[in-house]
């Protein structure tokens, strides 16, 4: 007797999108052919033992940090394209490989500065751009956005359990942590832009 042919159902869009979305427990057994990671797989650690990576930077003498995963690029600070009647803390925009990206004065957004720096428009009317200033391009709900900071320090790993809460009303600062001898103020960038 002839065995009936097996008809392979073509995956629906919903099936394909399910596979498209990242799931930490998704099957990747086929990756065994790839070189094994030095430290084994990413740990299945409980949240409290989790190490989180942050990019630290300086603003007005204090050290802040944002989740490394939110940072898309770090650019040397440069003069920006002026937006007429832009509202602080928007400094201006830059052309990031064809994408118009807003750049904000993070110090002003955090209330560390009183006056917005003049870094957009005709060069002769702008403040000098400090050599160590950088623009962190971060992902936000509204798309990539640049944050002007005084100086980038380094990438630090912080145990989630060691993050100390801050009292209500701390604005965009969502926690405190220490890295070496430095106190870090952990920021949620979306809150700065609200």
């Amino acid at each position: 007797m002839t065995k009936p042919a097996t008809v392979r159902r073509s995956p629906s869009l919903a099936d394909r999108l399910r596979a498209f979305r990242y799931q930490p427990d998704e099957d990747v057994s086929f990756l065994s052919a790839l070189p094994p990671p030095t430290h084994g797989q990413m740990p299945l650690a409980p949240v409290d033992a989790e190490l989180r990576e942050y990019l630290s930077f300086e603003l007005e003498e204090a050290t802040y940090a944002v989740p490394l995963g939110a940072v898309l690029e770090i650019l040397r600070a440069r003069l920006l394209v002026e937006i007429p009647r832009a509202q602080a803390p928007l400094l201006g925009v830059l052309d990031l490989r064809g994408t118009v990206t807003p750049v904000y004065d993070l110090g002003l957004g955090l209330g560390l500065r009183e006056h917005i720096r003049k870094v957009a428009g005709p060069p002769e009317e702008c403040d000098p751009v400090p050599k160590e200033a950088r623009i962190l391009v971060a992902r936000t709900a509204a798309g990539p956005a640049g944050m002007w900071v005084d100086r980038v320090r380094d990438v630090v790993r912080v145990a989630a359990a060691s993050i100390q809460p801050v009292p209500p009303g701390a604005g965009a600062v969502v926690g405190r942590a220490t890295a070496g001898d430095k106190a870090l103020l952990l920021l949620e960038l979306e809150r700065v832009l609200r």
């Binding site: 498209f20 990747v28 740990p43």
Partner: protein, 152 residues
């Protein structure tokens, strides 16, 4: 009576280019984007795996995405880099020619995948003048493994 539409699902896409084509992956997969780094050859690896890079003490395999996608050469002005993605609990770095951006899109705005492309393409998303191919990276690599050869 008007029937309320069910709320539309949204996806957060990270877009990038390889050759003349634009692609997108789930933003949740993206760990970081790095400038090109020196790749250390590893034993027993075969194309499209180029070798490994050391990322903060972790050895991460590097995959030549152009080869997986049979893509053409980088366009003029390309800014190549490594797109480090999560696959399950592993990290894999993919060579790309440039970063696009991050976009939140409704699934209703996606178009059906063309029939003549890799099974790893799950749908298309148009952002005129560009069309992005949404990539299932697991399917893409599964199609490269010796036991699955020919299924991609």
């Amino acid at each position: 009576m008007t029937l309320a539409r069910p709320p539309e699902e949204t996806l957060e896409l990270f877009t990038f280019s390889v050759g003349a084509h634009r692609y997108a992956v789930d933003l949740a997969r993206v760990d970081e984007v790095l400038p090109p780094m020196e790749v250390t050859p590893a034993a027993d690896v075969r194309a499209p795996v180029l070798g490994c890079v050391q990322l903060r003490g972790e050895r991460v395999p590097v995959v030549e995405l152009r080869q997986c996608l049979r893509g053409g050469p980088a366009e003029e002005g390309a800014r190549p880099g490594f797109l480090v993605c999560r696959l399950g609990r592993r990290r894999v770095a993919f060579c790309i020619d440039g970063v696009g951006g991050v976009f939140r899109v409704g699934t209703g705005s996606l178009g059906p995948r063309p029939t003549d492309v890799s099974e790893a393409v799950v749908a298309v998303w148009a952002q005129p003048p560009d069309v992005h191919l949404l990539l299932d990276l697991r399917e893409l690599l599964r199609g490269q493994s010796p036991s699955e050869a020919g299924t991609g």
